[in-house]
């Protein structure tokens, strides 16, 4: 980022520059997490016809800081039979990859921490490390509920990471196709800054609406947010994989979740909505671009908060069935359709049309499933309705004798 | 960049550690982990040859080989772990010394 070097005035050696960027990331993400927690509580409250935090600070804005202070001063309790190394390492395995994810995401045309050539692969690599932390937390707590929650959370995260990856492949195919049309090398197709750059006129959401939908659902599932929060819900598995953590360690999990929410929504905005580039593009200055990016991200974070308030929780088998039986086939079909259309030289709007058709099919499939008795995403076996039987005399007498 | 021999020696050390793991450890999952270490050392060797030999060879065979090794190793681990879990269900042990029904 040129901002930091200009602020310092002189050319800094590389490692001081890197250190400053790291500190900037940490500070920004902490402030961001505080803001998001407060906003979530307010938004959820309004959805539920109440007010939310109002006492601490003006309209309750200092509530998050008060919570953070409370967490920091809590006693650090550790179960004695818990494996000490794994218990204590697990929050770092969850926390550090999320912050590493911050690096390739471009906020404006120039403001990216580091323009990673293979940005997409990098983001999905660190998402995988996140999942390892979840399993370690569940295992290291020496608590059956924590283990159950941890295993379910990891299984859910892996299952939903697959459709997200395939949808990303679809988007990268479009970007590479544009590069090939221009005669350039396709090495840039994985670069996030280039993908934002490519959406000068049409954002990819118009070309791949199914991809956007699957990506958004995938974000909810990766972060174990409602409606996919069965592994971490208090009423289900007593809190899941972080039940034995207290104080700052729990705070790290919480911080990681909200930071990851912001970063993944920023990724979705950059990839599907054009990031800083659409609708005004490079004509506007950097400051308006950041407003554009944050505005889009804010709108979709609001949508995520809304889904938390409005949609009931999915059962674990419904969750897994939805990913493997519905989302994965659709994303595979999307990639194949992309490939077929592109290899026959179809225009971009054909891509968009096919993807929209698939999205409509997905919504239709889900609504039809929800009308059946078993709920969304599960396979149902039609049973015959119970026919009225002749009640025999034996049954009546036994029913009378049991004294009810 | 260190000379080629350094990278090869590090790979040899990791490979030998993997061999030791396969020969000494008794838990089936640990044997699989040591096997993965060996495969990784080999693929790193291939990549080192491909990168250091750009002047001599000029092609990417080693890197592609390493990619294929990663894919095959992942598939193999999945299947092998499935077998281990199944064996555990039947014999209630993951210790390879105790799975000796066929031993004379």
């Amino acid at each position: 980022m040129p901002v930091l070097s200009e602020l310092a005035g002189v050319g800094l050696p590389d490692w001081i520059d890197a250190l400053l960027r790291i500190l900037f990331i940490v500070a920004l993400m902490t402030v961001n997490a505080f803001g998001l927690i407060y906003l979530e509580r307010k938004v959820l409250a309004r959805f539920q016809a109440r007010v939310g935090p109002t006492k601490t600070g003006p309209i309750g804005t200092l509530q998050s800081i008060a919570d953070a202070l409370k967490l920091a001063t809590k006693e650090d309790v550790r179960p004695t039979t818990a494996d000490r190394w794994i218990f204590e390492l697990a929050p770092y395995f969850v926390f550090v990859p999320v912050f590493l994810m911050f690096i390739p995401i471009p906020f404006t045309q120039d403001w990216v921490v580091r323009d990673v050539e293979l940005g997409f692969l990098y983001v999905f690599g660190v998402l995988g490390l996140n999942i390892v932390g979840v399993v370690m937390a569940g295992w290291g707590s020496d608590n059956k509920y924590a283990l159950l929650g941890g295993v379910r959370a990891a299984a859910q995260a892996i299952s939903y990471e697959l459709p997200m990856l395939l949808v990303t492949v679809g988007v990268v195919m479009i970007a590479a196709n544009h590069l090939l049309d221009d005669g350039l090398s396709t090495s840039q197709a994985l670069n996030l800054n280039f993908i934002a750059d490519d959406q000068r006129t049409t954002p990819y959401i118009i070309l791949q609406p199914l991809g956007f939908a699957i990506f958004m659902i995938g974000i909810l599932a990766e972060l174990h947010r409602p409606p996919f929060d069965l592994p971490v819900a208090e009423t289900e598995v007593v809190g899941g994989y972080f039940v034995e953590y207290s104080g700052m360690r729990w705070g790290m999990f919480f911080l990681a979740e909200y930071t990851a929410l912001f970063l993944l929504v920023m990724l979705a905005v950059v990839v599907f909505l054009g990031g800083w580039n659409w609708p005004f593009g490079e004509d506007v200055g950097l400051s308006l671009q950041i407003v554009l990016t944050l505005g889009k991200a804010g709108a979709f974070i609001f949508v995520m908060f809304g889904t938390r308030a409005l949609i009931p929780r999915l059962r674990i088998d419904q969750l897994m069935a939805f990913s493997w039986k519905v989302l994965l086939p659709f994303s595979i079909v999307q990639v194949i359709a992309n490939a077929i259309i592109m290899s026959y030289g179809g225009a971009d709007w054909i891509l968009g049309l096919v993807s929209l058709a698939l999205l409509v099919l997905l919504i239709a499939l889900v609504s039809v499933q929800m009308r059946l008795k078993a709920g969304a995403g599960t396979t149902t076996i039609r049973r015959e309705p119970a026919r009225p039987r002749m009640i025999t005399a034996q049954e009546t007498s036994s029913a009378g004798a049991s004294g009810d | 960049m260190p000379p080629l021999e350094n990278v090869l020696i590090v790979n040899a050390i990791i490979f030998a550690i993997g061999v030791m793991g396969v020969l000494t450890r008794r838990n089936a999952v640990l044997i699989l982990m040591s096997l993965e270490l060996m495969l990784n050392a080999v693929s790193l060797n291939m990549v080192a040859f491909a990168v250091y030999g750009r002047v001599g060879f000029g092609n990417f065979t080693g890197i592609i080989f390493a990619l294929f090794i990663i894919v095959i190793a992942a598939a193999e681990v999945a299947l092998a772990l499935g077998i281990v879990v199944r064996t555990f269900r039947n014999r209630a042990t993951a210790n390879v010394d105790e799975i000796n029904l066929l031993k004379w």
């Binding site: 090398s185 | 550690i17 772990l81």
Partner: protein, 167 residues
């Protein structure tokens, strides 16, 4: 020693010590954590050799998937509750065999007159598109075969995981 060589030695030491940790750790789950570290060390090696693509693929495949598979398998085989004998009777033989192999490899590596190498400090990143071109033209048959292999492995794993129906 320049910064690049210092980084090389640090990564090498991390990888070797983690590999030793996998093989010598008393607790199985600690061995799994050392495994992640060893694979991370190898990914660091790939980064140093400027093959970033392979480093990230290694991170995704091994760090994200194989590690979780191994942790799940450890959980399903009750690794914690039944600490089985971690080292068997073949331990001295194993150590001797691996040391002999190591000696053979080091002898071969140091003793051979290697080909004309890329000069030090001259390694440029692998051009990504050329890699893709080579995979899809020269190596297309192995690529398709690997796809078939992965499908077979997936089917096999699902078949193995289906529980028996108890009648």
């Amino acid at each position: 020693m320049s910064a690049a060589e210092a980084v090389y030695y640090v990564v090498a030491v991390v990888a070797i010590l983690s590999a030793l940790g996998v093989v010598l750790a008393g607790n199985i789950v600690h061995a799994a954590i050392f495994f992640i570290l060893a694979l991370g060390g190898i990914a660091g090696f790939y980064l140093m050799l400027s093959v970033e693509f392979l480093a990230l693929v290694q991170l995704i495949v091994y760090g994200g998937a194989v590690t979780i598979l191994i942790l799940f398998a450890l959980m399903l085989t009750r690794a914690r509750e039944r600490p089985q004998a971690l080292f068997g009777k073949t331990r001295p033989l194993g150590v001797v065999a691996s040391l002999a192999l190591l000696a053979a490899f080091i002898g071969a590596s140091v003793g051979t007159d290697w080909f004309e190498q890329t000069p030090r400090g001259d390694i440029e990143p692998v051009p990504f598109q050329e890699l893709g071109d080579v995979i899809f033209t020269v190596w297309i048959v192995p690529f398709i075969l690997i796809g078939i292999l992965l499908s077979i492995a997936l089917d096999g794993a699902v078949l193995l995981a289906v529980p028996d129906e108890e009648d």
